[in-house]
């Protein structure tokens, strides 16, 4: 596989101040409102948030797959130093072999009229110039690697003849056939049963190791991030509001929204402590509050939070928060633990 030369300290993917506007023209604020993040080589980064937070738009903007009506209105997306926004042709070249994407609904990525085997290796075959014979051998090898039972027979089926879990495996196989350096994941296990989700998580964990692949994983499920990712970026109302290593962030969050999400997530091993419901609802793009966007729902907000800007600021140990009062979050954590 060819790899562009680059300095070792350069991140694989670098998103800088990305803005995405949906239905531009009105006075609506940006659905993605200045996102910056990096994915280092071999790293898995989780991008979490609730519906409307802008997490999926961010991911689609990176791959140039924004839905109609949405467009990038600012910022850069650097893949090994090349700006994918400024140079869409380089993006086309990279798709499948440099960067691949997997989706929640595999049928959006698979053609209903082509056999599974052909689709699985299509991108890779063109890239490597394999003969039909080599291509078939590669497809079978890949299918086995994905844990697809009865690989040879399955490859000659059509997607609709497969179960949801198998379809997901086929889509992952197709995405990985070109041995991409970066895999972008958009809620790939959300629609699956918990048993199949567990199998896919284990599969991705193994493949990530085997292929030394980087991942940017979008999900609403914090526990999935805990299983799969090294670092986490928490989005709210189009911005990243907390960023850091997964273990530290989930055990001692420094933004009240992250803390709220963690406390709202029911624990299957424990029922101690009441479930916490974050009051109110996440604002839509059109009615985002001024100041800190979380202030109307925040348990530690004060009048200062209602205006001004709240950028993501470093707090040490590779962590950052957009909360101007992280010490209040720490105090909140202590009081509720001791009470």
């Amino acid at each position: 596989m060819m790899q562009d030369p680059g300095p070792d300290d350069q991140p694989l993917l670098q998103v800088e101040d990305l803005h995405v506007t949906v239905n531009a023209g009105g006075a609506r604020p940006d659905a993605v409102d200045g996102i910056s993040l990096t994915v280092a080589s071999g790293e898995a980064v989780g991008l979490v948030g609730e519906s409307g937070s802008g997490k999926s738009l961010t991911l689609r903007a990176i791959l140039g797959l924004l839905p109609p009506g949405a467009s990038v209105t600012g910022g850069r997306v650097l893949y090994r130093g090349t700006d994918l926004i400024a140079d869409p042709r380089s993006l086309r070249r990279l798709r499948g072999t440099g960067i691949s994407m997997i989706f929640q609904e595999p049928m959006t990525a698979l053609s209903p009229v082509a056999r599974v085997g052909a689709q699985m290796i299509d991108a890779a075959r063109r890239h490597h110039g394999w003969s039909p014979h080599d291509a078939r051998r590669q497809a079978i090898r890949l299918a086995r690697q994905m844990g697809i039972p009865d690989a040879e027979a399955t490859l000659s089926l059509y997607p609709h003849e497969l179960s949801g879990g198998l379809r997901q495996r086929v889509m992952i196989a197709a995405a990985l056939a070109g041995e991409p350096a970066l895999l972008l994941c958009d809620e790939p296990t959300t629609a699956l049963d918990v048993t199949i989700q567990d199998q896919i998580i284990k599969l991705l964990t193994r493949l990530r190791d085997e292929l030394s692949m980087s991942m940017l994983y979008v999900t609403h499920d914090l526990a999935v991030v805990a299983q799969l990712c090294d670092r986490v970026e928490v989005m709210y109302a189009g911005r990243i509001i907390e960023s850091g290593p997964v273990t530290a962030t989930f055990s001692r969050p420094v933004h009240p929204y992250t803390m709220g999400l963690l406390r709202a997530t029911p624990d299957v091993d424990d029922v101690q402590g009441d479930l916490y419901a974050i009051p109110g609802y996440a604002p839509g793009v059109a009615d985002r509050p001024t100041g800190c966007p979380f202030h109307p729902r925040c348990p530690v907000a004060s009048p200062e939070c209602q205006s001004g800007s709240f950028p993501l600021l470093e707090v040490g140990d590779g962590r950052a928060t957009a909360c101007a009062f992280p010490e209040r979050v720490a105090r909140l954590a202590e009081t509720e633990v001791s009470s």
């Binding site: 609730e50 519906s51 179960s163 949801g164 879990g165 198998l166 049963d193 918990v194 048993t195 199949i196 989700q197 567990d198 199998q199 998580i201 609403h220 499920d221 914090l222 526990a223 999935v224 805990a226 299983q227 989930f250 055990s251 709220g260 999400l261 963690l262 709202a264 997530t265 029911p266 624990d267 299957v268 091993d269 029922v271 479930l275 916490y276 419901a277 974050i278 609802y281 996440a282």
Partner: protein, 339 residues
């Protein structure tokens, strides 16, 4: 206490799309739900939990078995309005029960007048009271569903179900489409309605953590049958069926803790091709030849009266030693600890 709802060997049969064969989505299920109880029904997709729920509210017909509701046998075909009023359903998608063209106030008023027989003069006061009961602001009476958030819509759907004064609420995955921060609020609402109105709830969910937090008792379904049933605390402490253990092990955790048991492998098999003997056998980590020959029945399991499991090799209570810590029969959780 007499059961509010009692199912005896209920089966629900569907014909395959080509009409060539029949399969039992629900296969000889017996279940008793006491008044004021919240019973959870869990299992993978295709386990029959939704088919059973739809039978209870009268949307599916049983092909065999009987169902007794408050001492009255539920008729096979058309149900009298009074019975329909007393058993209400809440769906995963609140739009299933909301009319997008009417305001919430109009929808509630209509139900209150026509179905609940509330005198015209009291309708608007009662509608406001219903919104208060589900913690929605009164000004939403004038709102159409479109303008509301997902959580608000689900609360409105619950208000509609409550408007006719039901005894039993059958909730089919009512929180699984909601954001985490909002989900906790709806879970608490069900607990609150049980307390304040003495409502009985059959809560269908795939999320075991949610069930653990809300339900008094849990029934686990697999391929149309209940394979394990127990009080919630007992079920999570002493899961006795390998399927229940496997489901629990498959749940992604926020913190890295040792997880008991092996996650369920493979995919749910086709209902039209039932394996011989125990239907979980092809995916079971402890299956032996007996499991191929004989279908296991629900029998006493675990440490608790009322705990049953359908497995030849389930963990069983030690005879004559009820209440004392069990040893030596596989009941010791530490012997199964897998990290």
């Amino acid at each position: 206490m007499a059961a509010l709802l009692e199912l005896n060997d209920v089966s629900v049969t569907f014909r395959s799309r080509r009409g060539s064969h029949e399969f039992r989505a629900v296969d000889r299920v017996s279940l008793a739900v006491s008044a004021g109880e919240i019973v959870g029904l869990v299992g993978e997709s295709g386990s029959g939990k939704s088919s059973l729920a739809r039978f209870i509210v009268g949307l599916n017909q049983a092909s065999a078995g009987t169902a007794v509701f408050d001492g009255v046998e539920l008729p096979g075909r058309t149900r009298p309005p009074e019975l329909r009023r007393r058993i209400q359903m809440v769906f995963q998608d609140p739009y299933s029960s909301l009319d997008p063209r009417m305001t919430i106030g109009q929808q509630l008023s209509e139900l209150l007048r026509v179905r609940a027989g509330v005198p015209r003069a009291q309708v608007s006061a009662r509608a406001r009271e219903l919104l208060e009961q589900v913690h929605l602001p009164a000004d939403l009476l004038r709102a159409r569903p479109r303008r509301m958030s997902g959580g608000q819509r689900q609360r409105a759907a619950i208000a509609k179900a409550l408007s006719v004064g039901p005894d039993l609420l059958v909730a089919d995955e009512p929180v699984s489409a909601l954001d985490v921060s909002v989900q906790a609020g709806i879970i608490k609402l069900f607990a609150e309605l049980r307390r304040s109105l003495g409502l009985t709830v059959l809560f269908i969910a795939h999320d075991l953590a949610v069930v653990r937090h809300l339900c008094d008792r849990v029934a686990v379904m697999y391929m149309g049958q209940i394979v394990e049933q127990a009080d919630t605390a007992e079920l999570f402490r002493n899961p006795s069926h390998p399927y229940t253990q496997g489901l629990l092990a498959a749940v992604p955790r926020l913190a890295s803790r040792p997880v008991r048991g092996t996650a369920v492998a493979g995919e749910p098999p086709d209902l039209s091709r039932l394996p011989s003997g125990c239907r979980f056998r092809p995916r079971c980590p402890i299956a032996r030849s007996l499991c191929e020959q004989e279908e296991p029945r629900l029998e006493a399991a675990g440490d608790d009266a009322g705990h049953t499991a359908a497995c030849h090799f389930k963990r069983v209570p030690v005879a004559g030693e009820a209440g004392t810590p069990a040893t030596g029969n596989g009941n010791d959780p530490s012997s199964r600890e897998v990290t």
